[in-house]
Symmetry: C2
Subunit: 512 residues, 2 copies
């Protein structure tokens, strides 16, 4: 074990003790008593986690070396089997693959005889990658010295095998220390998160899965939630998303050419690409900033006073100039001030063009009238919009305007999620951050999306969100990394992350 | 020489004799007399052309083997030198390269002491190619058996080295038979036609070139003008064109991101791609079929009664179903009947989208907000529109609507051309088709474009057009070919094409 690692341990211990005191001060007297007992418990668990530290790193590395990629059909059954083995080794029982109609899910329970049950959502698939863009092979899982600290570099390192590996390490530490978990667990792991979870919801059709999930207090996905500066954000929900292609073609339209023809024929022949551009144009107003799909705002719930207050707080604590610089943005929409720009980020549904492809796309020009055009869109949804209702509205909108021929190929999507600020999951997260002396803020809603609607929506209606200490970067990009021994003492390393999950499970047991 | 070639010759002779008789019957008495003398002359020239037939084929093949590609900077000076040598060998004098600011032009004169002078426009460059898409190497110039007959397959075979080679063969035949040309010639060859002739017009700044061109009666580019069924169309002009890219970027706009960012930020950040789509949408009305650029129709000259009559004739002689089938089109714009669809083809300026490229263009989706979008447009112009005026109108239109940040990158363009039906060039063409018993029709305007405005515009104001017998296909596409010995006796082979140019020069000399 390197000097660096030892230094990391010292920092961890110090932080833990300081955080424990701060956490106790904030909690009610009864909770403080319960916490004292937990602190005693975590010392033994921590020793076990330290002993298992090298194995934890190796577990993450080996998992990275065996990627499941739904878009490429890579290691579908094999990846599910691997996930099942990881779950079994971590103490889950009744572990099995669950058919969803797509890539199988993996289910398991960990019954510790506790009164409460917590749901754990894993994704075992990873995003595609192009090895030529990487500084080291994306499946090597090389340990590197990153400016942010010692890190594992590889596809899936931070999204999501690193954080999930830290969670598994916590379960191994419970077991090795001979401690029972303070809560029961239900695990649901999916293997097609990276293609938009098109079938994951079907897992709830399995009676055993549904019955087990109904017992859960809430659900988390392990997540490296800290910024490189150490601060963490707890999102009280996430926007939904519909990802789709609009495809206009002469063949389907019955107008325009069936294949690309000479562009001089535009005077005589309709253009499927103009048809597409005109259809697109009806979807938005205000320069593309406001969706104009018929009825789009019918279900949009305005921000509450509490949400506005949280945004105002975020506007004060997050430097606007940092945000602008990191995005390469000079002005927000409508030249809004920072706080209103954040309100817009949280509250507004969007219609975004991810990509356009039509006709000749190479250098210079080519005098053709293309037979086909494709717009790739993503539509972000806010509460109380739903994917099904929104898709129906889009379809009706296009049909009403003479664009009914345009194909809508939805590739994935989720409903938005909301989790109450006073739910146990959110209160437990805050307690862990406080205990670990990690600055955090609440934010009404992640502008991004995740398949948490499976848990927050009918029939479960559970609180659900991301949770975890630590940091990393490069998700979906080259040189993805997960920091295991950070240079910044405000950021948790792998061991502190592991203990953060231990703390979280105790907080879930204790929270009233 | 193959049996096929011999059969080709017999057909040519028969066609020539039959055509000669038909032509004489149609011409005025004086013209018939002049023509008799020319028939005597052409017999000797024809024998020389037959003797030079193999050399003519080889000349075309060798030329194909030495491509000039302006877009790739391939064989720029060398191709001009090659062109100059071809001109010199064919009898041109004062042959030299003329600087244009781009790929050099080649100039030469052939002074036969005749009262009249004819301008000849050549292009010596060819379109790019992808060898992997070809059935034989595009520079091999292989002789193949095509369904339409024995043919040369190679890049530039029909566009334009084959027809130009047939014209050169005519000059060689004059020389070999000891006959003086009935007209003087001025040759102007350009080497960047395939990138839109961005500099060719500058050739007229050369005093010797301008003076020589001022003496011309008119200008032709050698062209395989027959359809595979044998019929030919004489176009009395061509539309102009502007080819350009509209580029929207966050960087230039000062709004939106400087590089691609996560698509969830659409709620907070402007989208350069939506900006582009909205700009595009202002350029057209009626589903993309009518340009809506401010003032776009100010200079548009309506069809004349004669033009309408020619179109009505074309509507009768050209099968609508053939046109629809070959284009893969079920309906014309606005469900117009055939004649009105042809009127639209001839008379309407267009704004066409050749291509769209923005953001993620691969399979499936990618949740990004792209920093940049590009639309590749071609705008066809009709008389009396001009490139300069139209480009200024487009710029003003976009600026007026808040799209002044969108870059307009024009890559090439020409003004429209018009050539009077009673000009000698057009009358001579008709006489040659008649003499060769080739069905032809007059059409008001080619919907495509060529750089003939250099000749038809100020200061020369000459009649100009495409002319030549024969057929081919695959211009700008793989497996381009030029038929030298057709299976259909109504189509001219290389020898008859060569004699067609001989006839044309005599007709230019004789026409009143």
């Amino acid at each position: 074990m390197s000097e660096r690692t030892h230094r990391g341990f010292h920092v961890d211990r110090r932080t833990l003790l300081a955080g424990g005191a701060a956490g106790a001060a904030l909690l009610a007297p009864g909770a403080a008593l319960a916490q004292t007992r937990r602190v005693r418990d975590t010392a033994a668990i921590r020793r076990a986690a330290e002993a298992g530290y090298a194995a934890s790193i190796e577990r993450i590395q080996n998992w990275i070396r065996f990627p499941t990629i739904a878009a490429e059909g890579l290691n579908i059954e094999e990846g599910a089997d691997y996930m099942a083995r990881l779950a079994t080794e971590a103490g889950f029982t009744r572990v099995r693959k669950v058919a969803t109609g797509g890539v199988p899910a993996v289910f398991g329970i960990l019954d510790s005889g506790a009164p409460r049950t917590v749901g754990i959502y894993f994704m075992y698939d990873v995003k595609q990658y192009n090895p030529s863009e990487w500084a080291s092979p994306p499946l090597e899982a090389r340990i590197i010295d990153h400016p942010l600290g010692r890190a594992i570099r590889g596809r899936g390192a931070v999204n999501q095998k690193g954080p999930e590996g830290a969670f598994l390490a916590a379960l191994h530490a419970f077991h090795a220390s001979g401690r029972r978990l303070p809560v029961n667990l239900v695990l649901l792991a999916e293997g097609e998160e990276e293609i938009g979870s098109p079938n994951f919801r079907n897992v709830l059709r399995d009676p055993e899965v549904l019955a087990a999930m109904r017992r859960a207090e809430g659900v988390i996905i392990p997540f490296a939630q800290q910024n490189p500066n150490g601060a963490a954000t707890i999102n009280l929900g996430a926007k939904g998303i519909i990802e789709l292609e609009l495809v206009a073609s002469g063949e389907r339209w019955g107008r325009g050419p069936a294949r690309d023809v000479h562009s001089s024929l535009k005077a005589q022949v309709d253009s499927p690409v103009w048809h597409l551009v005109q259809a697109l144009n009806t979807l938005v107003a205000d320069g593309g900033n406001t969706p104009a799909i018929d009825g789009w705002f019918e279900r949009v719930r305005p921000l509450t006073a509490r949400e506005r207050a949280l945004i105002a707080e975020a506007a004060r604590s997050r430097p606007e100039e940092d945000a602008k610089r990191s995005l390469g943005v000079q002005r927000w929409i409508d030249d809004l001030p920072w706080q209103q720009a954040l309100e817009r980020l949280v509250s507004q549904p969007t219609v975004n063009i991810e990509g356009l492809v039509a006709g000749y796309t190479g250098p210079g020009g080519m005098t053709i009238l293309p037979a086909r055009g494709v717009a790739k869109l993503d539509l972000r949804l806010v509460p109380n919009m739903t994917v099904a209702d929104s898709l129906a509205k889009l379809r009706a909108h296009l049909e009403r305007r003479g664009f009914g021929d345009i194909e809508i190929n939805m590739s994935g999507g989720y409903d938005p999620t909301e989790t109450a600020e006073d739910s146990r999951v959110i209160r437990a997260q805050q307690a862990v951050f406080t205990r670990n002396n990690i600055a955090f803020s609440l934010f009404p809603r992640l502008a991004g999306s995740w398949p948490g609607y499976v848990f927050t929506g009918d029939p479960l209606r559970l609180p659900a969100g991301q949770f975890g200490l630590g940091t990393g970067g490069g998700a979906h990009a080259p040189d993805e990394f997960f920091v295991i021994e950070p240079t910044n003492p405000r950021v948790a390393g792998l061991l502190q992350q592991t203990m953060g999950y231990v703390d979280f499970l105790y907080e879930m047991a204790a929270a009233r």
